[in-house]
C-alpha cells in the first residue's frame, strides 16, 4: 500500500510541532510536543507506518494520564503509536534510543555534568566492596529490579572501568565488566545457598543489565567528548522478534493458511462467473422464507476456482541444513492446505515424498521419515542439480501442464557440477509458472558455486529465509492474473 502523502517523513518537524501545539491548549509544552513529533519521525524512519492521526491521538492521550511517570508515558505512547507486536518491538528500541539521546543532548546544552565522574573517581571505587557488589547485582537481576539495576550498573562501571582504561569500544567494555562480575546463566557452586547465582541467572535479566551498562558507558563517553555520536539505525537482528524455532513453525503455518485463503478467493471477478452461474434451488427456497415464500433474492451456486496443481521440490542437502527445516515446514503446511500437490526432496537424486506427507500428520515424524527413507544422497552427499533436473523431468514431464505451478526451494549451489539449466528450462516451459525460493540473502547470490542466475532466467527467483519474505511470496503467487508480468 503506498503511504498517503501525510505519512512521508519530512524534515519540517519543527514547523509541524507548531501546528500541533496550537489547537491543543493542554499542559504539554511546546518543547515536549516538538520532541514527540521528532520521535514520530524517527519511528517512521524505522519503518513503522505512523499516521498524523496517531500522533494526534498520542497528544490527546497524554494529558489524561500522569505522564511524568516513565512507564505510564511509555505505555501511553505505545498504545497510540505502535499497532502490531512487530511495531511494538521497534517502538521499544527506538524509544530507548531516542529519549536517551534527547536527554543527553539537553544535558550537554545546559552544561549539566555528573560531579566526580570522568576523572578523580579512583578513591570512590576503592571503597566499593567488589564481592558485595557482585551479589547485589546478581540479586537485582534475579528479581528484575529495574531501578536497582540502573544504579548498580553505574557502580559497576565505577568499580571496574577506570577512566582511560576503556578500550574505546563499548561492546568490549560491557563484556569485560560482565566477566569480572561473574554473571553467568549456568548454576554456580561456590556461593551461599540463598544466593540467586546458585541456580544461574535468567538470560533475559543479564541482557537487560548489559543494555544498562552500555547505556551508562555511552553516557559517560558523551560527557567526556561533549558530542553526541551519530545515530545508528536499528540492526536487522534487534528488530526481529525474539522467537524460537517452534514459534517459527507456527508462523509458517499461519502464512500458508493465508496462502490457502488467498488462492481460494483470488480472481473471482476475472472469471466471469455470472455467465454460467447455476441457481441454487435449495438456498433460494430458504432465502424466500424471509419474504413469505416469494423468491425475491436468487442464490447461486458458488463457482469454485480451479485449484492450481503444485509441484514443490526441496533441497535437503547440508548446505541448506538450517533452511531445510524451514522449507520442510513450508511443505508440511502446504500439504495441509492443498490436495493436489506433489512434493520431492533432493540432494544428489530426487525422491518423491508426497506419500510421507500424506501419511504423517506430525511434522517431527515427517522429517524423521524423510531422513530415513528418502534415499536422496548417493555417494558424496553434495547437491547435483544437473542430475536432479534430468530425473525430475523424467518423472513428471507427462503431468506438467500450463496450470501447474512448480516451486523450487534451494540455494542453487552446484558444488561445481553442471547446473543443467537447459533441463530446468524444459521443466519451466512445460509448467505454467515456476518459482525459485532461495534461502540465501540476495547479496550472496551468484558468489562461489551459486548459479541462481542461470535458473532465474527461466523462473521468478525470490529470497526467502524469513516468514515475512514467505508472506511476500504468497502475495506474488496469488496476485490476480492481470497484474502478473
Amino acid at each position: 500500500m503506498p503511504p498517503p502523502p501525510d505519512k512521508r517523513p519530512s524534515r519540517e518537524a519543527s514547523r509541524r510541532a507548531a501546528l500541533f501545539s496550537e489547537p491543543l491548549a493542554n499542559p504539554l509544552d511546546a518543547g515536549l510536543t516538538a520532541h514527540l513529533v521528532e520521535f514520530g519521525e524517527e519511528l517512521r524512519g524505522e519503518g513503522v507506518a505512523l499516521g498524523t492521526s496517531e500522533l494526534l491521538d498520542a497528544f490527546s492521550a497524554l494529558p489524561e494520564v500522569a505522564w511524568n511517570e516513565p512507564t505510564l508515558f511509555r505505555e501511553t505512547l505505545a498504545a497510540t503509536l505502535a499497532k502490531s507486536p512487530e511495531d511494538r518491538a521497534i517502538f521499544d528500541l527506538v524509544f530507548e534510543r531516542f529519549f536517551f539521546r534527547a536527554t543527553e543532548l539537553a544535558a550537554l546544552n545546559t552544561g549539566i555534568g555528573e560531579a566526580g565522574s570522568g576523572s578523580g573517581d579512583g578513591e570512590g571505587s576503592a571503597e566499593i566492596d567488589i564481592e558485595a557488589l557482585r551479589e547485589q547485582i546478581a540479586r537485582a537481576i534475579a528479581e528484575q529490579n529495574e531501578g536497582a539495576l540502573r544504579d548498580l550498573a553505574r557502580l559497576a562501571i565505577a568499580a571496574f572501568a577506570q577512566p582511560g582504561e576503556g578500550s574505546g569500544v563499548l561492546g568490549v567494555d560491557v563484556q569485560r565488566i560482565r566477566r569480572s562480575l561473574g554473571l553467568r546463566t549456568d548454576p554456580q557452586g561456590d556461593v551461599p545457598e540463598d544466593d540467586p547465582r546458585a541456580e544461574g541467572l535468567p538470560r533475559e535479566g543479564i541482557r537487560r543489565f548489559e543494555q544498562l551498562l552500555r547505556q551508562e558507558l555511552e553516557r559517560q563517553q558523551i560527557e567526556r567528548t561533549s558530542t553526541l555520536p551519530a545515530a545508528r539505525p536499528l540492526h536487522e537482528l534487534d528488530r526481529a522478534l525474539p522467537s524460537g524455532p517452534l514459534q517459527d513453525l507456527a508462523s509458517v503455518h499461519r502464512v500458508v493458511t493465508q496462502l490457502k485463503r488467498r488462492l481460494k478467493t483470488q480472481g473471482q471477478e476475472h472469471r466471469g462467473h455470472r455467465r454460467h452461474a447455476h441457481v441454487d434451488i435449495r438456498r433460494t427456497m430458504r432465502a424466500s422464507l424471509q419474504t413469505g415464500g416469494v423468491p425475491i433474492t436468487l442464490r447461486y451456486r458458488p463457482v469454485r476456482p480451479r485449484r492450481p496443481e503444485l509441484f514443490v521440490i526441496c533441497d535437503v542437502s547440508t548446505s541448506v541444513t538450517s533452511a531445510s527445516v524451514f522449507f520442510l515446514s513450508v511443505m508440511h503446511a502446504l500439504h495441509d492446505s492443498f490436495r493436489k500437490m506433489r512434493s520431492f526432496v533432493f540432494i544428489e537424486r530426487v525422491s518423491e515424498v508426497t506419500e510421507v506427507f500424506e501419511r504423517e500428520r506430525d511434522f517431527k515424524a515427517v522429517s524423521e521419515a524423510i531422513a530415513r527413507d528418502a534415499g536422496v544422497a548417493d555417494i558424496s552427499g553434495y547437491t547435483d542439480y544437473g542430475r536432479v533436473w534430468g530425473e525430475l523431468l523424467e518423472q513428471i514431464q507427462d503431468e506438467l501442464h500450463p496450470r501447474a505451478t512448480v516451486i523450487v526451494l534451494g540455494d542453487a549451489r552446484t558444488n561445481g557440477r553442471a547446473p543443467g539449466a537447459d533441463l530446468f528450462a524444459q521443466i519451466a516451459a512445460r509448467a505454467g509458472r515456476t518459482y525459485w525460493l532461495n534461502p540465501e540473502p540476495r547479496l550472496y547470490w551468484n558468489y562461489g558455486d551459486s548459479v541462481i542466475d542461470s535458473y532465474a532466467q527461466y523462473c521468478e527467483a525470490y529470497e526467502c529465509w524469513t516468514t515475512a519474505q514467505l508472506e511476500n511470496f504468497v502475495k506474488v503467487l496469488t496476485a490476480p492474473e492481470a497484474t502478473r508480468p
Binding site: E64, K83, R88, G292
Partner: protein, 300 residues
Amino acid sequence: MSTTPDRPEEISSGLVEVGYLPDAATSLVAFLAIKLGKPILVEGPAGVGKTQLAKSLAETLGRELVRLQCYEGLDEAKALYEWNYRKQLLRIQAEAQDTGWQEVQDDIFGEDFLLERPLMTAIASPDPVVLLIDEIDKTDQEFEAMLLELLSDFQISIPELGRIEASTMPLVLLTSNNSRELTEALKRRCLYLWIDYPSLEHELEIVRLHAPELDEKISRRLVEVVAMVRELDLKKPPSIAESIDWARALLLLGATDIDTKTFNETMSIIVKHRTDIDIVAERVGVKLDSDGDGSGAAAS
C-alpha cells in the same frame, strides 16, 4: 449504574474486584479508551483473556455488554439491522384494501419493523454499553470497511429512517487472533493492546485469586508446569482459563503435589488434542519425575 474512572488505578482495582487481574498496560489502555472515546484493538494468542477483559470491563463499569461474534461471511444484515419482513408482510395483509401506498410505506419502514442487531443495539442504547466485536480477523475486508464509519463517528445510516447517532459513547473492544493482517485504516482508529501469556508471577496471582484454597506450593508448581507446556509446539496451548480449571480440579481431587501420576490423570484439562497429549506426556511427564526428587520448587 455506570461510573467514569479518573485514574488508571481505579480501573485496575475495579477489574481485580470482578476477578480479572490486569497488567499495567491493560488498565492504562482501557482508561485511555474511556477518556478519549476510542476503540481498543486487543491482540494476542488465544486464551489470554481478551474476551474476558471485555466482560470484566462491562461488569466493573456497570455497563451492559453487547457482543458481536464475527465469522467468515458475516454481513450487515447480521451485524447492523434488518427489516422484519414477516411482520411487514403481515402488516400489509392486515391493512384494509383502500389504504394508500404512501401510508403503508411510512408505516412499515418504522422502528417497529426494525430488527436490531448487535452494532445497532450498541449505538441506540440510552445507557453507555461495552461493545465487544470478537475475532474481527475472521470477517472479510468489506465488513471491516463497514465498521470504519461506525468506529469513527458512532453512527449508522439507514436509508429509510435516516441517521442514527449514538447518544452515549460505547466502549468498543475489538479482538483479533492475528490470523489475518487487519487494514491500516482500522488500526489507525484504534488504541492498540497486545496481551501475551502472563509472566509466572502474574499467572500465579491469577490462579490464587480464583482458587485461593489451593496450597501455595501446588499453585506455583501448577503455573510452572503450564508455562512449560506452553513452550511446546502444540495445536492449542493451554489458556489462562484452563490453568484455573486445572487448579480447581486439583483442589477437588485433594492433590498434595503435581507428580507424574496426578499430571497424567488431569492433563486432559489443559491439553485438548490427541497429538498434543502425546507430546506433552512425553516431554513434560518425564521432566516432572526428575524434578520431583529435588526441592520441588525449581524456579527457572
